[in-house]
């Protein structure tokens, strides 16, 4: 009996090889999309983690400067006066190489004698005495990562040209930094040098930080020493701000990966269930000649398993290739903007492929099981009757629509109850989309009913038949249409989100960049008070805003501090509307403003106190309100410059905003300012427009990956769905023949087929529009808020919406063309006899 079942299936596919091809294509693409995005996501995550641990190692705490670097003498005191043993001085910075000028590389200056307990720098410094002696004693000697030497064709003894702050310095490679197992797993090792060499090459007299390994008691002891100008930070905290940066970038990828999963499930389900449903009649016959229910069920499942396996394996291979492209893109973006060269591709763990396997095979089996159970359950007669199938399909779609309501309610309730959890946010997103998808067959039917008169008017009887055919073929088209809706909604949703985000960033930039020209410097005391005074009275200048930017370590991690003396047009901040008079209070030194991400992450509200490490120790500052900030994920504190100078005794200025009289000659004004500044190469002068454009281009670059992923996911879903719809339409040979026999012209049959798929596309495209908006809303108000603390407005731009509709309709038209052409050509008698 099994042989009989087997040969029935074999014959079916032999007669219709394209059916088999399309089934395998659909499932493969579903698996590929999911696996590809998931692999890229995972790769990014692990690259971040490894980069962090490579630099930090066993360190439990860092001593970091309140206002930047730490003097050598502090390290000296720790050793000589406080007898601290597990302490390692570190200089960390970024440089470029003339041999690879487009990338930045991390250099790390260490004391090799202090390293063994720390990050296993033993492996950085080979156990070769000559190298160690050279590293410490000879100036301009470095250890270069093995991979870098390989890439640039360098050997031990080769010279390397480092570029730091526009100066070029030649160093000699005296050994490799052995990239132990870490490198295989995906982090790039820094260029390592002795701390003295680092100070000389990077032209500084200070150190970046001191890494410590401390017990809790020792940590308290260090804190109680009251060391001035530094703060003890838990390495985990510092790492976590590092992690958060990484996490932030990954959120978009995770959202995409989830959506890819959804699209994949629907795609596979549509393909496989169709492959079974279309043979319902054969199953009726088999049952009639004595095949038992269980045999039938098993037979179908075995078939689903075979097809599912082949398709899944192909899908995994395809996904692997897709991931390679995506991973490169992801790492490039990440490397460019977050961690420089500290990120390299990682080999994905096998379980990610296993997830794809489960998705492909599991969904295939599930998709086949439902119609198979149905076929096995019903009487042979009913199984052979198409009308019975469609009746039950109708019932099923209604039930699905009803079922979607509690799911959606539950998802909304979940989102309402847990307002901070990102996990719940994702769960809510997933369930709302899934529930919406369940509505698609019903809305499609309603839509078909509504447009039937219009179609009849345009296409005549073929149009009317097409519209009615939509409702009567839901068993075949329902899931595919839902899948198309979800895929299109994803494309729309992410597009809208990115657009909204971009508009918010533009507004924020306008609100922030109020001055015409900005001076900035990283050098100490490069801009003097007298220069600022001179600029203020320089012809054409209306006024200046003066800013000190610095990073300060706090108990809740490192934050950026922006101490400002506002210019003629205010503070240049967009304050959250909910807090009245925040700006006025800020102006009168009553407290500070904090950025939204900081507020959200630390759950701070106006009126709370934030403790900051001042020169006089930890001091509380009252939070007056929040301002929008997309600039940094770390979190920013804004305070009046006067307040900062009182508490930190730091007169340094590293940002000046210059307001120019619009009626003055800009060129003259600028050259006047240049004259005041003199020939100081450490001061950068940039125009408002330059910063704005540069910021937006960074934004676009960051989201390029999202965009690429979105298009890729859309494209693959599109191909998959077109193939699913095509296989559905191709199976309508008998229907077509009957119509032809009834005297409907081939051309009209063509129109019928094409207009029916177009109608499906239109229906799912239209449904995808509100669904896409909902998705964008969820991404903006739930996912982005919960992961970054960024607030932004949802902007309904038409381009993503129209693009989505176009995508859906094109997919469906493409799906209809070949079946329509076939229908036109095929002979009536052959088709009928065939049946």
């Amino acid at each position: 009996m099994n042989r009989l079942l087997g040969s029935a299936a074999t014959r079916f596919y032999l007669k219709r090889p394209w059916q088999l091809f399309l089934a395998i294509t659909g499932i493969s693409l579903g698996v590929a999309v999911y696996v590809g995005v998931d692999l890229a996501n995972d790769s990014a995550r692990r690259a971040f983690e490894l980069s962090a641990s490579l630099i930090t190692g066993q360190t439990t705490h860092h001593l970091v400067g309140v206002g930047g670097d730490i003097p050598n003498s502090l390290y000296q005191d720790l050793r000589l006066k406080h007898g601290l043993q597990l302490a390692a001085p570190i200089i960390e910075d970024e440089i470029r190489l003339t041999q690879a000028p487009s990338r930045e590389f991390t250099v790390i200056g260490i004391d090799p004698l202090k390293e063994p307990s720390f990050r296993g720098f033993s492996s950085f410094v080979p156990g070769d005495g000559t190298t160690l002696r050279q590293l410490i004693a000879e100036p301009a000697t470095i250890l270069a990562p093995e991979s870098l030497m390989l890439e640039l064709g360098l050997q031990v003894g080769s010279e390397l040209d480092l570029i730091f702050e526009n100066t070029q310095k030649t160093v000699q490679i005296i050994g490799p930094v052995t990239e132990i197992s870490l490198a295989e797993e995906g982090a790039t090792t820094p260029i390592v040098m002795d701390i003295a060499t680092a100070q000389e090459l990077l032209d500084r007299k200070t150190i970046s930080r001191i890494d410590l390994i401390l017990s809790d008691i020792e940590a308290e002891k260090i804190s109680s020493l009251g060391l001035s100008g530094v703060v003890l930070v838990n390495a985990n905290d510092r790492n976590s701000s590092f992690d958060e940066l990484a996490r932030a970038f990954r959120i978009n990828l995770t959202a995409l990966s989830l959506l890819a999963l959804l699209v994949g499930i629907f795609l596979i389900y549509a393909t496989m269930s169709f492959a079974v449903i279309q043979r319902r009649k054969t199953f009726g016959v088999l049952r009639a000649i004595g095949v038992s229910r269980n045999q039938l069920l098993m037979g179908i499942l075995v078939e689903a398993f075979l097809i599912g396996s082949i398709a899944t394996i192909l899908g995994l291979l395809l996904g692997h290739q897709l991931a390679k492209i995506l991973v490169d893109l992801v790492l490039q973006t990440v490397g460019d903007f977050y961690f420089r060269s500290n990120v390299a591709a990682a080999n994905p763990p096998p379980w990610l492929y296993a997830k794809g396997l489960v998705l492909g095979l599991g969904t295939s089996l599930l998709a086949a099981a439902a119609p198979a159970l149905d076929a096995a359950r019903t009487s042979p007669h009913a199984a052979m009757s198409r009308s019975a199938l469609e009746r039950s399909a109708l019932k099923l779609t209604d039930r699905a629509a009803l079922f979607s309501i509690p799911i959606m309610a539950a998802a909304l309730a979940l989102l309402g109850l847990s307002t901070r959890s990102l996990f719940v946010g994702f769960a809510g997103l997933f369930f709302i989309i899934a529930a919406s998808a369940l509505l698609v067959p019903t809305t499609t039917r309603i839509f078909a009913k509504v447009v039937e008169p219009i179609f009849e008017y345009i296409f005549g009887i073929a149009g009317s038949l097409a519209a009615r055919g939509v409702s009567t073929s839901l068993s075949r088209t329902g899931v595919a249409t839902a899948a198309l809706s979800v895929a299109v909604a994803t494309v729309i949703g992410i597009g809208l989100m990115v657009n909204s985000f971009r508009i918010s960033v533009e507004e924020w930039l306008s609100g922030t960049l109020t001055a015409d020209i900005y001076l900035s410097t990283e050098a100490d005391n490069a801009i003097t008070t007298s220069q600022i005074e001179a600029i203020n009275i320089s012809p054409g200048v209306l006024g200046t805003s003066v800013t000190r930017f610095t990073r300060i370590p706090t108990e809740i991690g490192e934050v950026s501090l922006r101490a400002q003396m506002p210019g003629p047009q205010g503070w240049g901040v967009t304050v959250n509307d909910q807090v009245p008079q925040a700006i006025e209070k800020l102006g009168s030194n009553q407290g500070i403003l904090i950025s939204e991400p900081l507020a959200f992450r630390r759950n701070l509200t106006p009126g709370d106190e934030l403790y900051l490490p001042t020169i006089q120790g930890q001091k509380p500052f009252i939070i007056l309100g929040f301002f929008r900030d997309y600039n940094t994920n770390v979190g920013t504190v804004l305070m009046p410059l006067e307040m900062y100078r009182t508490y930190w005794q730091d007169e340094m200025v590293n940002g000046v905003g210059i307001y120019i009289n619009p009626r003055a000659d800009r060129n003259n004004t600028v050259s006047g300012i240049r004259g005041i500044l003199g020939n100081n190469s450490t001061i950068r002068m940039r125009s408002n427009d330059f910063i704005r454009e540069r910021s937006l281009s960074i934004f676009d670059q960051t989201f390029k990956i999202t965009e690429v992923l979105r298009i890729l996911a859309g494209l693959v879903a599109f191909l998959g769905l077109a193939s699913a719809l095509m296989s559905i339409e191709l199976e309508r040979g008998r229907e077509v023949a009957v119509l032809r026999a009834m005297g409907i012209a081939p051309r009209q049959i063509g129109i019928l087929t094409l207009s029916q798929t177009t109608l499906l596309g239109l229906a799912s495209g239209l449904f995808a529009m509100p669904l896409g908006i909902i998705m964008a809303g969820l991404l903006i108000f739930v996912i982005n808020l919960r992961s970054f603390g960024w607030s932004m407005n949802l902007e309904l731009s038409s381009q993503p919406l129209l693009l989505g509709l176009l995508l859906a309709v094109t997919a469906s038209i493409l799906a209809g063309i070949y079946p329509a052409m076939r229908a036109v050509k095929s002979g009536v008698a052959t088709q009928l006899r065939d049946e």
Binding site: F121, S122, I136
Partner: protein, 372 residues
Amino acid sequence: MKNILLLSVVILMACSESKKTISAQGSNATQFLSESGTDGYKRVITQRMFDFPADHSSHDNYQNEWWYFTGNLETTEERHFGFELTFFRFGLDSTPAPRQSQWGANQVWMGHFAVTDTEGEKFIAVERFSRQALNLAGSQMDPFRIWLEDWSVLGNGQNISPLILNASSDRITLDLTLEAQKPPVSHGNGGVDQKGPEEGNASYYYSLSNLNATGALRVDDTSFDVTGLAWMDREWGTSSLSPDIAGWDWFGLQLSDGREIMYYRLRTDDLQSSPYSGGSIVLHNGGRISLSMNDVVLEPLEYWTSPETSATYPISWKMSIPREGIELTIQPYLNEQELNLTVRYWEGAVQVNGNQAGKTLTGNGYAELTGY
């Protein structure tokens, strides 16, 4: 003598991968010596009239150098302790490049600090390294001072005696004042201690073999007032050891009759004594009787295997000096005095019993066993 191998190996291996590898290689130390950059450093060839106090301080034109303190101490209740505190200097380059950075260094220092608590059956040993920069480590003449972060040896003006020793770590602290009872004694041939047949394979070597010690030490949470007798070894040179030397056994013994015996045996790979083994008997008045390989017979009596490193050391010995009629049994206060640090060796407090021509001899001392 003793630590020339140790030192070079330590510096060379300071940053090597794991203790296991180092221990394994430690026994094969000579291969690393050949790598040490001795070019341009002065070598110990000619005899030297030691010039004190200047010679107490460092000699940077020689590649390596050390100050080695050991001693046996006890409380008024006669509770016994042993201590070891050592400072090693290692020069990196004989013609150092000028450096802008304050971190720029051409000398590296290593310190070992160990306390033996006989009654408490505890042996605690720690080590540290530092570059000679930013005042983190170094040596000076006036006042005489050697320091490695907060471990230090401080003299009395330019004079070395009385000396104040300070060292502290998590579990042990030592604060001692040492007063020399005898003038420095030069070993070898006019201060030149030859280690092998090659020219320059030698070091300058003198000792303060009898230092009265008073002060305090802490083991974990308990502090003890202690008195006792300490020993200082001083060596410097630019030396690489003969390749067939596997290790050495060194003894510094302080006898109850006011004499001291220093003897080291250089062991070859086939467990024979090298002819460059040797030592001194320091007399009451500070006079010296030179000992050569043929004067001393050493015989291991008992072995101990370290549970931590599985190395087996001969920890108890019979030492005979037939020419003087001296017969001594040397036994450790505690078996477990192995320093499992970057370089692994056994260095511990020992007690001495024996006789000279029928007259009973007792005493204390330190033994150093390497290359096992």
